[in-house]
């Protein structure tokens, strides 16, 4: 099962920029491209955990602010020659609201 959580609207994110969302799986970076596509990734660079949300967005890619690795927003992979991958999360635009897909936290333990 997946929970779709309303995190705001696309207008809350600067074009060619990103905002962060605090979740139980860690900080998530939500990106908005020049032509208003949105992507969600765990906010950690595969290199040394740099905060990708602070990078420069270009096309469907982001340059990490720490050492300039370039990460593909589509699938989270680092552009060659660098190697590595950041986890992506599903994100839907429904009637102007952005819905982030999260697998529910394991509340069962408290059962």
């Amino acid at each position: 099962m997946m929970d779709w959580i309303d995190i705001g609207t696309i207008a809350d994110i600067p074009r060619l920029g990103a905002r962060t969302v605090e979740t139980h799986v860690g900080q998530v970076a939500v990106f908005r491209t020049g032509d208003d596509e949105v992507f969600a990734l765990i906010n950690k660079c595969p290199h040394k955990n740099g905060p990708l949300s602070e990078g420069i967005v270009m096309g469907r890619k982001v340059a990490c602010p720490l050492h300039n690795w370039v990460i593909d927003l589509n699938d989270g992979t680092a552009l060659a020659p660098d190697e590595g991958c950041t986890t992506t999360l599903p994100l839907r635009d429904e009637g102007g609201r952005l819905l982030l897909g999260l697998t529910p936290a394991k509340k069962v333990a408290h059962g």
């Binding site: 959580i5 995190i7 994110i13 962060t20 032509d35 955990n49 602070e54 420069i56 270009m58 340059a63």
Partner: protein, 817 residues
Amino acid sequence: MNAVSRQRLVVIGNGMAGMRTVEEVLARAPVRYDITVFGAEPHPNYNRIMLSSVLAGEKRIDDIVINPLSWYAENGITLHTGDPVVAIDTAAKTVTAASGLCVAYDKLLLATGSKPLMPPLPGLDLPGVVAFRDIADTDKMLAAAQAKQRAVVIGGGLLGLEAAWGLKRRGMPVALVHLMPTLMERQLDVEAGTLLQRDLSERGLHFFTQAQTERVMGETRAEGLVLADGRTIPADLVVVAIGIRPNIDMGKAADLDINRGILVGDDMATSNPDIYAVGECVEHNGQVFGLVAPIWEQAKVCAARLAGDQIAAYATPALSTRLKITGIDVFSAGKLAAEDDADEEVIFRDASKGVYRKLVVREGKLVGAVMYGDVADGGWYFDLIKGERDIAQSRDHLIFGQGFAEQGCCGGAKAGLDVASMADDSQVCGCNGVSKGAIVKAITEKGLTSLDEVRAHTKASASCGMCTPAVQAILSFVTGADASAPEALCKCTDHGHDHVRHAILDQRLKSMDSVRKALGWKTEDGCAKCRPALNYYLLCAWPGEYVDDYQSRFINERAHANIQKDGTYSVIPRMWGGVTTPDELRAIADVADKFNIPSVKVTGGQRIDLLGVKKEDLPAVWGDLNKAGLVSGHGYAKGLRTVKTCVGSEWCRFGTQDSTGLGIKLEKLMWGSWTPHKVKLAVSGCPRNCAEATIKDIGIICTEAGYDMVIGGNGGIEVRVTDELTRLSTEAEVLEYASAFMQLYREEGHYLERTAPYVERVGMAHIKAHILDDDARRKALYARFLFSQSFAQDDPWAERATGGIDAHEFQPLAVVS
């Protein structure tokens, strides 16, 4: 050689054709003639083609002189400028000038060029109406542009468009009136002409096509035009550029055979065997001329004949056209369109990129090409046309250009010129008819290493200059050195930093999108390299107008604090000249406590760094620091960082001047300015130099006599000691000179180039020319710096801590629990 035996050669017309012929004569028969030159204009021979660039502000008159007065002297040529010939006596073999001077000749050369065509319109003789032919005309237009009046240009050909563009560049509102439905109809087909008009309209020119001018309005001076359909166009300057006609006055004076021009044979002799003629004043085989390429050919043949050659014969070469408007690329050669069923047209369009191409093919050969937008392959097509090569093999790919057609692969998009695959006989410089082989030969045989040398030896790129990049590419290819070829700004473009900076100013590009569009960027949004660079270039070019694009700044400049390896930030408040107070120190201490800042450190730049601040705390940290009067130290900025000082005359027993006070003044003047890279200053109170001024971008070393100013130092990765700029006597002078240098660097530096490499690149002579040798230039730089600072000195911390700017930057979008 005995001087008495020399023959006398008299040249009428001190222009491009005449002097090129003289150069060729000197090369072939250096001692054969005593040469006398008469010129109507009061100037040495200059490159008329470049008047367009002078008008547009890209060149100065000094830059376009081809033969300076010293050249005439060195070659023993007697020159009479500003003294037109008015009579020729062919029986006595003498010419008489306006001054009364009478000179005898053995051979006479007519090179009087052409006159602007003036239609028989009422009012054309009013003041305020000019043609576009010589320096005097250009000066008149520049004077009008200075008064920021309105202009109207009659004529939508090459000359009219270049005049209109130049005036527009000079800040005048410009309208252009053209008789035909599309521009440059003699060189471009309808589609390319339409694209040209669209692009120039976007750049602010107003067009009236299919418009017949009826008269010039005005009683005592020109006030505009009335068109045949009744419309009026108000203007204070009217430029007539509808064409030229050969100047045949001297032909008449010598009783020569004349039709449209002075008739010449293949030997360039007129109907009088002792009189030769070259250039725009002649007519050969029914043809008259208006471009330099055929004229250089005539000069060669005429010189050979004058040197005694009996065989040299002139034939008009194939001609191609280019328009010299920066950023607008147009090329055409041969036929513009299919003329009958035997001709085929192949057309390629990429509307989104503004690229259009048409090839005309006849019997398996290319006979015409029209290109708009991307003209890199123009030279190659021109070669195919001239060579009448069989193109059956590559017919299907031809339209996609050389790279594609010759490799037949799917690579297609090829950037720049492929020197390696160019044939030796392929022509590089159309004006001067210089092939790749000739350039390669000159470079290898004479060991040439610079563009100027190649130009001097081969004349390639010495006329209209459009082939300069190609010549440069060949030079780099042969010498293996890439020194002269500017490096591309990033992978999104082939253009170098300088080109981009000039284009921003020349074309008045004011947004990142328009820069990318005008310069044919290969990516939509640019990349992490070009975005910050363009953002800076626009900010520097249009202070107060361009709105800073935060998304194109590195995180440090966006968050106005320095990101650390763990994603926290460091905060450095300004400590003017390294001086602080107990209150400021208390505020820093309080902030460190309140926000649990793990590390407080004195920096190498005489101030205090708070390290490990969480991003969301930044606005509150700034707010508290602001309250104590502290502002951002820009420890993160490509901008003014620190002004390091020593204690100076206030305390030190050796101090000669108030170095601390001067440092504070400099920092208060310069803080907040954005620059190509970071800038650090220092002021030392005496030559012991405790503030280490000799490894700073700008250093001041106080002496008893005043202030020594040094520049271009760096203490970082590669240590560089400063160069001495000058010695000044007052603090006010220091502020002015330092600001002027700062502004020069701001305007010329490449993004991420510190002053040390900048100074090495442009040279101290260049900097001195701007700052020391020319008071007006220095003061203008100073004024531009102050103007720019009037928009720059807002504390970014205050704007964000209390002003609410960029609030989203510091808060999460959502918290999901």
